[in-house]
Each structure stands twice: as structure tokens, then as C-alpha cells.
């Protein structure tokens, strides 16, 4: 469907050119000051003494362990939340049942909970004085201050990302394509794989990217359940904090720069996906 090109509009209702220019200048200035300058500060602080200390800080064994742990946590939490998000989006968008709105609200709940609380709840459950703490201690199972706790806290924090990206898109797409597939004899799995999934793949990818960025960058929640054991339960963000508290500023900013780079790549990819993929359709008015 080609929408006819918008007619050239005579701007009757528009601001004077100087107002326009001033507004743009002001916006660029304020956003630059508030958003861009911090990023520049990270780069400058990290490179204060050239590249050598940066490389040294990142290849330090503790830093490498932190990077490995961060990747491992993301590799577990992101697939879990992708699967859960897909299931949630499928049942919320493609079926009517009582309590649908409530379910969606509950799924978004972790967004409105402080990251510290997201970590705290796991300590309350599995910590030494938690509900299940003694039982776990008897069996020598470590959850808090170990990998399982870090993963659980990360999953909690990144829980809504995929579902939240998919639900509005799938609701907008409606059910008729799936119904058409059913009348043509497709099974449930065939319908999902051949009809639904291709229609949401870019949105799904975008949700997964955001989920991943948050999983790798999460600080508050993992800080509470980590125990800060160097080389063992320190993720990259936590490693930054330790270095900073030890006045190893260059090292702290070097690792921070690495994480900032991840954020920039995520943003660029997301922008690209939104411009070309199915999310663009959601933004455009339906023709």
C-alpha cells in the first residue's frame, strides 16, 4: 500500500523562524549537556593516561572473570525471559480471557520495583536468614551470593522487556492471519513458526536486545545478591564499583566504557530495527 505523498502544507500555524532555531538550539544544548556529556566524561576519564592502562584494566584476571560472569548471566536470563515473554505475548494478544489486563500489569510489575528490592526479595527467600536459608544450608546449596542468585535477580529485573515489546504489536496484528492459517490446515506449531514468528521477528529481536543490555548492565539487584566476591560473584557493573571505591579510577572508567559501548551498540541496533522492521509498521498509521 503506497500512501499518497503528503500534500505540501503551507505552514499557517507555525512558529517564527527564530523561535524554531532557538528551540532546536536549546534542545540540543540541554540534551547534550545532560545526556552526551556524561558519555564523553567516561571516555576522557578512561583514556586519561592513554590506552595501555585501559587494556591492562580490562585484561586484568578479575576483570576478565567479571566479563565472563556477566556474559554467563545474560546467556541464561535472556533466553528464559525470551521464552516467557513469547508465551505471555501469545496468550495475552491472541486470546480473550478474564484477567488479561491484570496479567499484563503483573508482568510489568518489576519495572516499577526498585532494583534493590528486586535483589532483596531473593535474599529474603534464600539468604542465610531467609525462609529457605536453613534448609539450603543443610544441603549445602548456595543460591544467594552465588551464580543462581545473580541469575534470579537478573531475570526478575529484565522480566518484562520481551513481553512488553511484543504484546502491543501482536495485539495490533490481530488474529485473522492465524485464523486463516487454521482454515488452511496448519497445525499450532506451523502457525506459530510460519505465520506469527516471521511477523514479529524484528520486534522480538529488539526486545531481546534491550533485555540483554539491561541484563548485562544491572547493578542494584545483583549488588544485593552478589556478596562481592572478587573473581567469583562480581559482574562487570559491580567490578566498576569496587575499582572506583579503591580509587582505581582509570580501571573503573575503562570497564564502564566497555559497558557504555554495549549500550551504544544496543541503541544503534534498536534504532535500525525500528526504522526497518515490523515495529515501524506499528508506528506508522495503518494504511
Amino acid at each position: 500500500m503506497r500512501r499518497p505523498g503528503g500534500e505540501p502544507r503551507v505552514e499557517v500555524a507555525a512558529e517564527a523562524p527564530w523561535v524554531r532555531r532557538l528551540a532546536i538550539l536549546l534542545a540540543v544544548l540541554v540534551l547534550g549537556l545532560l545526556l552526551l556529556l556524561p558519555l564523553l566524561a567516561v571516555a576522557t576519564e578512561a583514556l586519561r593516561r592513554g590506552w595501555t592502562p585501559v587494556v591492562a584494566a580490562i585484561t586484568d584476571p578479575d576483570a576478565l572473570a567479571a566479563i565472563r560472569l556477566t556474559l554467563l548471566i545474560a546467556a541464561i536470563s535472556v533466553p528464559v525471559n525470551t521464552l516467557g515473554g513469547l508465551a505471555a505475548a501469545w496468550c495475552i494478544a491472541k486470546f480473550d480471557f478474564p484477567g488479561r489486563a491484570l496479567l499484563l500489569a503483573l508482568i510489568e510489575l518489576p519495572f516499577s520495583v526498585s532494583p534493590v528490592i528486586s535483589g532483596l526479595v531473593w535474599v529474603l527467600l534464600f539468604g542465610a536468614q531467609g525462609w529457605l536459608g536453613p534448609w539450603l544450608q543443610e544441603r549445602d546449596i548456595q543460591i544467594v551470593f552465588a551464580l543462581p542468585g545473580l541469575v534470579l535477580a537478573t531475570i526478575f529485573v529484565t522480566f518484562p522487556f520481551v513481553a512488553r515489546t511484543l504484546v502491543p504489536l501482536m495485539q495490533e496484528q490481530g488474529r485473522s492471519a492465524e485464523e486463516a492459517a487454521a482454515t488452511l490446515g496448519a497445525s499450532g506449531w506451523q502457525t506459530f513458526r510460519r505465520v506469527t514468528l516471521p511477523d514479529i521477528r524484528w520486534a522480538l529481536l529488539s526486545g531481546v536486545l534491550l533485555c540483554n543490555a539491561r541484563a548485562m548492565g544491572e547493578f542494584g539487584a545483583v549488588s544485593v545478591v552478589s556478596g562481592h566476591i572478587r573473581g567469583e560473584t562480581n559482574t562487570m557493573p559491580l567490578h566498576i564499583e569496587i575499582l572506583y571505591n579503591e580509587y582505581q579510577f582509570v580501571g573503573a572508567f575503562a570497564v564502564a566504557g566497555l559497558l557504555a559501548l554495549l549500550a551504544l551498540v544496543t541503541l544503534a541496533a534498536k534504532a535500525l530495527l525500528e526504522r526497518s522492521g515490523d515495529l515501524a509498521r506499528l508506528r506508522r498509521p495503518p494504511a
Partner: protein, 356 residues
């Protein structure tokens, strides 16, 4: 493939979408479900396809109870109102979908799929579009793709939901003719939903007129127009003036004194009971006599109870809007000039369909 619908009811919350609907559709029939929006026609169609489920009642297709048969096993073709094409697939892949999702044993080989898809695209007259995506083709072309896709599984029964609803008048006309030819050529049963009575009358050999979840009448178009089963059908199909009347001693007496009476024998449909009745008179069923010169035979008799408000030619005939004591009545008369606006006339119905 014959379809037997028995006592179907369906309720959505407070709204009763279908109320004890029964219909018997013969094999190879071309049937329209016609009614205003909210009359339950789309619900009925979706239940036939297995896309919705009745609260009670049965659907038998070719004698087989469909209650436990899921949509994907019914083998019924369904064309959706907005076509529901798969956006990320080419036209070719859309049409091939129904063949590709078959279990391995029943799946035709790739070359055969290609042959069949091309033959279908040929049949719906868009062979050149096979590599396009749905958002690269026009509305009418999408309609054809949707049809080809539904026909690919060789359904003995084809269901269409408002098939031409989203298309402009010119395209509609062409597609209608083409669909009728297709029906003749394929010899399958077709049921389609429409709110456009011209479409229903032109295409279908039997029309089910629906209202508020019930089938008011299920008959061929001629019968529907000639002998509407009730006041709703008489008022819904074609144009007709609605006039209050009384039926007494075998005679219909119009409440408006100027319109006189009609003997029972002159009525196309007579009321079942004596007493108050509602009469419907179509535009060509009036007699018009005007005062002065011109058409009609001399000065009117029995009083001057009507005035011509507007008059326009309509293909060799004349279409009048006549004011009858505040009521506007549409009348079609033979002949051309002489019915200029402002002229007082006497009008009376030649016949009527009356319901108590």
C-alpha cells in the same frame, strides 16, 4: 457439499448473536447471508468455518456433525473480510501455504505445488503478481490472492466474509461477475456474507435475510422481493413506502383517507389477521393522476391529496418524490414530462404487501 444448520445459538456476554438459527444449504448452492450489521451473519459464517463455536445447536456438513472437528481439519475455504494475507510472504507463498503445511505424506512435491499455485493465479487472473508482497498490490488484487489461497486446498465449501466490502464500486462489479463465473466453473458450494442487497440479489441463488440473530427468510431473490415473509424483509429489501392501514372484511383500508382501499385479491401479500396492519408499496406500484394537462387522464378524481416535490428522469421512466400530507413517498412512473414539481396529484397504490 451440503450444509445443515440446526437450532444454532450463540451469545457474546449480553448480546445474543444467533438465536435458534436453522438453514439447509444444498450442495453446489450459491448462498448469501444478508442483513444489517450486528444481525449475526458473520458469526454464523465463522461457526461454519470452525472459527467460533455455538452455545447450542448443530452444524452438519455432508451429513457429518462438525462439533468436534477443529477448523484445520474441516477443509473449508475461508476468505476474510480484510483478506488476512500473510504479510511477510509473497503472493506465491501465500497461495502455496495450505499445500506446504500438509503432513509430509499428503504434501505434493515442490514442482506440483508450483504448478497448482500458478494455475490458481491464472484462474484469478493475476499470474504476473506471484513475486509481489501483499502491501505491493491493490485491494482488488489482494482479494483475488485471498481467494486463490482459500481455493488452493480445493475446498468443497467456500465461505466469504464481506468479500467486496473494502473495494470501490468499479472493482466490485467486475469481481462479482467473475465470482459468479467461478462458481459455475468449479461447482462448489459458496456461502458469503454481505450487507449489500444488490450484491446478494445479483450473485446468490438463495439469500438468507438475517435480523437480530435470526433468519427472517431464506428464499431465491425473486421470492424475497415478491413475497417477503415479514415486515422486516419487506422494508429491508428494495424501496418501499411504509403505510399504516387496517385489514377488515378482506379489504385493506389505508389510514390516510386519500389513498382509499385495496381488495384482498389485489394484495401481493395479505395480512394474517384482521385489524391494524403495516403496508409496503414499492415505487412502481403507484397510480398517479395529476390535475390539468399532461399525463394521466384529465383532472384527478377523489381529491388532491398529494403534491410533487421533486422529479427526475430515470432511464425512460420518471422518479418522483411526492409529498402526502407530510409523508414523502417515492414513486416511479412511465413517461417523461408533465410531472413538474409543485403540481397537485392524486395517488393510489395498485397493490401492496401488508403485515399485521
Amino acid at each position: 457439499m451440503s450444509v445443515e444448520i440446526l437450532g444454532l445459538s450463540r451469545r457474546f456476554g449480553e448480546a445474543q448473536a444467533l438465536r435458534d438459527v436453522s438453514l439447509s444449504i444444498a450442495a453446489r448452492a450459491f448462498v448469501a447471508l444478508l442483513g444489517p450489521s450486528g444481525s449475526g451473519k458473520t458469526t454464523l459464517l465463522r461457526i461454519l468455518a470452525g472459527l467460533d463455536f455455538a452455545d447450542s445447536g448443530t452444524v452438519r456438513i455432508e451429513g457429518r456433525d462438525m462439533a468436534e472437528v477443529p477448523a484445520r481439519e474441516r477443509g473449508i475455504g475461508f476468505v476474510f473480510q480484510n483478506y488476512a494475507l500473510f504479510r511477510h510472504m509473497t503472493v506465491f507463498e501465500n497461495v502455496a501455504f495450505g499445500l506446504r503445511v500438509r503432513p509430509r505424506r499428503a504434501r505434493p512435491p515442490e514442482a506440483e505445488i508450483g504448478r497448482r499455485v500458478r494455475r490458481l493465479l491464472e484462474m484469478v487472473q493475476i499470474p504476473e503478481l506471484e513475486r509481489r508482497y501483499p502491501d505491493q498490490i491493490s485491494g482488488g488484487q489482494r482479494q483475488r490472492v485471498a481467494l486463490a489461497r482459500a481455493l488452493a486446498i480445493e475446498p468443497p465449501l467456500l465461505l466469504l466474509d464481506e468479500p467486496f466490502g473494502a473495494l470501490d464500486a468499479e472493482v466490485r462489479k467486475g469481481l462479482r461477475r467473475w465470482l459468479r463465473e467461478l462458481h459455475a466453473q468449479l461447482g462448489i458450494t459458496i456461502v458469503f456474507v454481505t450487507h449489500d442487497q444488490d450484491e446478494a440479489m445479483e450473485l446468490a441463488d438463495k439469500v438468507a435475510v438475517m435480523q437480530a440473530g435470526e433468519v427472517s427468510q431464506f428464499d431465491p431473490p425473486d421470492v424475497l422481493l415478491e413475497r417477503p415473509a415479514n415486515a422486516f424483509v419487506a422494508g429491508f429489501l428494495g424501496h418501499a413506502a411504509r403505510l399504516p392501514a387496517r385489514f377488515q372484511g378482506g379489504t385493506l383500508r389505508f389510514e390516510d383517507p386519500g389513498l382509499g382501499t385495496l381488495p384482498g385479491a389485489a394484495l401481493a401479500v395479505a395480512p394474517r389477521r384482521e385489524g391494524a396492519a403495516l403496508a409496503f408499496v414499492r415505487p412502481h406500484e403507484w397510480e398517479v393522476r395529476c390535475a390539468g394537462e399532461g399525463p394521466g387522464e384529465g383532472p384527478g378524481e377523489g381529491g388532491r391529496n398529494a403534491v410533487i416535490r421533486a422529479s427526475r428522469p430515470a432511464g425512460g421512466r420518471r422518479h418522483l418524490e411526492v409529498d402526502l400530507a407530510g409523508l414523502t413517498i417515492e414513486i416511479e412512473v412511465e413517461g417523461g414530462a408533465g410531472y413538474e414539481p409543485g403540481r397537485p396529484c392524486v395517488i393510489r397504490p395498485r397493490t401492496a404487501r401488508a403485515y399485521s
